[in-house]
């Protein structure tokens, strides 16, 4: 029942910003559904194949901001072949044809062509913001089109994309009239940039708050840019190599000191570690520090830098920080909420410099810790139990022991108890990635305790179907489940096929599921696309249902089989 006119409800709904909440609002009744859909401006689509652009446009005519994700998460680790899918072009084409006034497009793990970028840049007059994360398929020519044609561009944010760099011309394509930039991040580009054009662009962008440079931007340019943009909040330094006795360095020190608003610092793609002292003046205000691309920074220099960062909330670092360094973090960064420790030598001699000790130290010193990504040499149950006690607030807990089936080195036991402690203690845990030697037991714990769990990543674990069953039965809020190299077979897969409709997707590779099992799922659940990815095209020759399936990806969808799958993908 509505006691209010639609406009009032609409106004009320404006305050409801989270996608989940808005989705819930739209389910209340028909009139709320209608009001909600006309007033909806931001839409998030976690799997671009779950819905079609046409249906999106039909339902949300007021759409201004679209977020799309393409490939499954394991594509990040080379498990999904190159041209599997996730093309953004059809979306842009459909949106361009419609009357949608798109202003913001955020894409993750999608294939973006120069053609799409060009079409995008020419089709939406008010286009303001382009964010591309882990995408591929475009070159700097596409960026040039965006720069040249989007007159009101505010944000161009490129994060970890594979871009074919045709060298610096694209920056010059920003017209002189473009003064609206708020955020510019091209750190992932590998080629040269036109430094003069960059300086002029920054000079005429008084609202610029976030600037992340690539390696090709040398120190003297950095100094000039900082002089022109002391209002920066987020800075990504490209090259930080210089002679500490030079004039440039002195100027840099002065410039940095003027940047009193910087709260986030990243980059250092090339670094001369003995010159970090210029950064100290801004360290005290930093809330986010990302040194995960700076292998040149380690040892005492790194320690010193961290010791200045007392307000840090998020730290991304390489494992050359070592357990000792993590001890320094624990002592210094009392506000720390998120820690990511990446391996500096992932395929090397197996000497990741951090172990369970570092993690325990951080957990003891940083009680606000709620998000972790930790690549380490080894882990013990005792350490995990301690961490669970110290930090019951974990929302994300991703542990990667470089040797994926390594047991607790002290007791030689699997890590079931340790992870069990984590899920039991951290009642709000939403994302979990497991590694190390694990049996079915850990999955029993997960099923029992991880009530809020939404995403689970499993590799080289478990002993039997039971593991998967515990999870499917127990984790009511599970949305994404990705499994590789586990002994889960048809029995687990088929136990409760209805569950998959409540989830976004399920990935299983190198498991025990057979073609017959997958076919069975597909038959019983027409609302799912069950894709078999068969790169070696073995399925062509052997269509036996008992054949084990190498890679299976299933996801719920409202639009049936996709039409753009490559030959080696069969949709059952």
């Amino acid at each position: 029942m509505n006691y209010f006119p639609d406009e009032v409800l609409e106004h009320v709904f404006d305050f409801i910003t989270s996608h989940k909440d808005r989705n819930s609002v739209s389910l209340v009744c028909k009139s709320w559904h209608k009001i909600e859909r006309y007033s909806r401006q931001r839409v998030f689509i976690g799997n671009c194949y779950s819905i079609s652009p046409e249906r999106l446009i039909a339902r949300f005519p007021g759409l201004k901001s679209l977020t799309l994700k393409g490939k499954p998460h394991f594509a990040d680790f080379n498990l999904v072949p190159h041209d599997w899918g996730g093309f953004v072009y059809p979306w842009i084409k459909a949106l361009a044809k419609s009357r949608i006034g798109l202003e913001e497009l955020r894409l993750k793990r999608m294939v973006v062509s120069d053609e799409s970028l060009e079409l995008l840049s020419k089709s939406f007059v008010n286009f303001k913001s382009l964010v591309l994360v882990s995408c591929e398929g475009f070159t700097t020519d596409g960026l040039a089109a965006i720069a040249a044609n989007c007159r009101f561009l505010r944000e161009l944010d490129l994060q970890e994309n594979e871009v074919d760099d045709h060298r610096g011309h694209w920056l010059s394509c920003f017209p002189e009239s473009c003064t609206s930039l708020i955020s510019l991040n091209f750190a992932c580009l590998r080629g040269e940039v036109n430094l003069g054009a960059l300086e002029r662009l920054v000079s005429r962008s008084p609202n610029l708050k976030s600037l992340r440079l690539n390696r090709a931007v040398p120190l003297d340019t950095l100094q000039k840019l900082l002089m022109r943009a002391p209002q920066l909040v987020d800075l990504g330094i490209g090259s930080y190599v210089h002679d500490p006795f030079s004039e440039v360095y002195n100027k840099l020190k002065i410039a940095i000191q003027r940047c009193k608003s910087i709260r986030s610092l990243s980059g250092f793609l090339e670094v001369a570690p003995h010159c970090m002292s210029a950064i100290y003046p801004i360290c005290g205000n930093l809330t986010f520090l990302n040194l995960s691309y700076a292998p040149g920074l380690h040892g005492n220099k790194l320690m010193k830098l961290i010791q200045h960062c007392r307000k840090l909330q998020r730290l991304w670092i390489l494992d050359c920080i070592g357990d000792k360094g993590l001890g320094v973090v624990a002592l210094t960064c009392k506000e720390l909420q998120e820690l990511r420790v990446f391996p500096s030598d992932p395929f090397g001699a197996g000497n990741a410099a951090v172990t369970e000790e570092g993690l325990v130290l951080v957990s003891a010193g940083c009680p606000k810790l709620n998000s972790l990504l930790y690549f380490c040499q080894q882990m013990t149950n005792a350490a995990l139990i301690t961490v669970a006690k110290n930090c019951p607030n974990f929302i994300r807990f991703r542990l990667c022991i470089l040797d994926p089936i390594k047991p607790d080195p002290v007791t030689n036991q699997p890590l079931d108890e340790g992870f069990g402690a984590i899920v039991q203690s951290c009642k709000g845990l939403k994302r979990l990635s497991l590694s190390g030697l694990l049996t079915d037991q850990v999955f029993l714990y997960i099923g029992m305790y991880a009530e809020q769990l939404e995403m689970l990543s499993i590799a080289f674990a478990a002993d039997s179907d039971k593991g998967m069953l515990y999870v499917l039965n127990g984790c009511k809020k599970l949305r994404k489940l990705e499994i590789r190299d586990c002994p889960f077979g048809d029995a687990a897969l088929l136990e409760d096929v209805g569950k998959y409709e409540t989830m976004r997707s399920l990935w299983m590779s190198s498991c025990e599921v057979t073609l017959g099992g997958c076919k069975s799922v597909a038959e019983k659940m027409p609302s799912l696309n069950v894709e078999i990815i068969d790169e070696c095209e073995q399925m062509e020759f052997n269509l036996d249902d008992k054949q084990k399936v190498d890679k299976m990806y299933l996801y719920r969808t409202l639009v049936g089989h996709r039409k753009d799958a490559p030959e080696y993908v069969s949709i059952l």
Binding site: D76, F77, N78, S134, E160, C188, R215, P244, F245, L269, E270, V271, P273, H274, S277, Y293, P295, G296, N300, F342, P343, P346, F347, G348, A349, G350, N351, A352, L402, D403, P404, I405, K406, P407, P409, Q413, P414, L437, T439, D440, Q441, L444, A459, F460, A461, D463, R484, D485, P487, S509, S510, C511, E512, C536, Q538, N542, Q547, K548, V549, D550
Partner: protein
């Protein structure tokens, strides 16, 4: 029909002393595969001796060569948590499993689950899996420590290099090794143990840093390729920029006036000027001895070394270095860390030759010192 077992025979033999080795080798194939089910300290089993009602086949770990069939893995084989997962049927011989488990040594291979496959060309790293698969069946007979756990024998690669395989279940070798290894990765068949092959990273859990295995599991560790590429490029660039060979050794040439040949020192092996100085003294003492007179006895050596020290620290010799700009500077003025980053070459020269050098060096280093105070480095 016993599917071919893969493994490396010679490793086993070299590391195992139990009689089971023979039975492994009896199995005929040149390559043996080892299993590790966590009970692993037990010696390997003589399969021929076991009575058939124990469902041996189920316990055999097999690695299939491409095209071969492998048995399904029995879940009973997971003995690690039998205590907890008591709904699982226990394997008949297991009552003394506790004994087995408790006797497992530190370097027991506990990782089980997966089969793994040796690469065909038999990399030495990928060897000697502990064949413990059936070992617990004979626990009473001989689950002694000399089990074929060639674990911890230092032969195996360190933890991070997982040798192997990729799991396709189908016949045909899939050489999807991530790195450009020359390995022909075998297709691993055994569903006996969940799929992929992890090798004995499991075994290697006690190895602290043996060199990495050559082949790797696709997609492990789970890091975006963008990151690994960027880091690789970063390290290379940092090296180019600093002119250093990288985090490894930092060799610079050391010459001494009057010495017939140069030496090289790795600056990274020292952490203070004092250490470097002592090392140089030792290195070059033989050259100055000629001037000091004969040596021979330890006492005399000491005398000579201290004489050299006097020479070096006294008035006769000074140690200088050439920095990145090409200037010759006096050693000792800048903080050690800065020194090793800028030093390109060392030279021990006579003080008299260094006179012109010193004052300039002092000025430069005074400037340094001022900055140093600023850094607090």
């Amino acid at each position: 029909m016993s599917p071919p077992l893969l493994g490396v025979e010679e490793e086993v033999q070299s590391s195992v002393s139990s009689p089971s080795v023979e039975c492994i080798s009896e199995n005929g194939m040149g390559l043996k595969e080892r299993n590790y089910l966590g009970l692993s300290d037990c010696s390997s089993v003589d399969s021929s001796g076991v009575s058939s009602n124990l469902n041996l086949k189920a316990t055999e770990l097999r690695l299939g060569l491409p095209g071969s069939q492998s048995p399904e893995r029995e879940t009973e084989l997971c003995l690690l948590n039998l205590g907890k997962l008591d709904e699982k049927p226990l394997f008949p011989l297991l009552p003394s499993k506790d004994g087995i488990c408790s006797s497992s040594q530190k370097n027991v291979v506990t990782g089980n689950k997966r089969g793994f496959s040796d690469t065909m060309d038999g990399f030495s790293e990928v060897k000697g899996y502990v064949y413990t698969e059936k070992s617990w069946m004979f626990h009473e007979a001989g689950s002694d420590s000399e089990s074929p756990q060639s674990v911890g024998h230092g032969k195996y690669p360190g933890n991070s290099g997982v040798n192997v395989i990729l799991s396709a279940r189908s016949p045909g070798v899939q050489a999807s090794v991530k790195q450009d290894e020359p390995a022909n990765v075998l297709q691993e068949q055994p569903r006996a143990t969940n799929g992929t092959s992890l090798k004995q990273t499991v075994i290697s859990n006690n190895n602290t840093g043996a060199p990495a295995a050559k082949a790797q599991v696709v997609g492990w560790p789970p890091i975006r390729p963008f990151r690994t590429k960027t880091l690789a490029a970063s390290s290379k660039n940092n090296d180019e920029v600093d002119g250093k060979p990288g985090p490894g050794a930092l060799f610079v040439k050391v010459s001494m006036d009057g010495a017939p040949y140069l030496r090289k020192v790795d600056l990274r092996t020292y952490s203070t000027y004092q250490e470097l100085s002592s090392a140089l003294e030792k290195m070059f003492s033989c050259f100055t001895l000629g001037q000091c007179g004969s040596n021979g006895t330890a006492g005399k050596e000491t005398l000579s070394e201290s004489r050299l020290k006097d020479l070096l620290h006294g008035s006769e010799y000074v140690v200088t270095y050439k920095d990145k700009d090409g200037d010759w500077m006096l050693v000792g003025d800048v903080p050690w860390e800065m020194f090793i980053e800028t030093c390109k070459r060392l030279k021990i020269m006579k003080s008299s030759d260094a006179i012109g050098l010193a004052p300039r060096a002092m000025e430069k280093s005074k400037a340094n010192n001022k900055k140093e105070l600023g850094y607090g480095c």
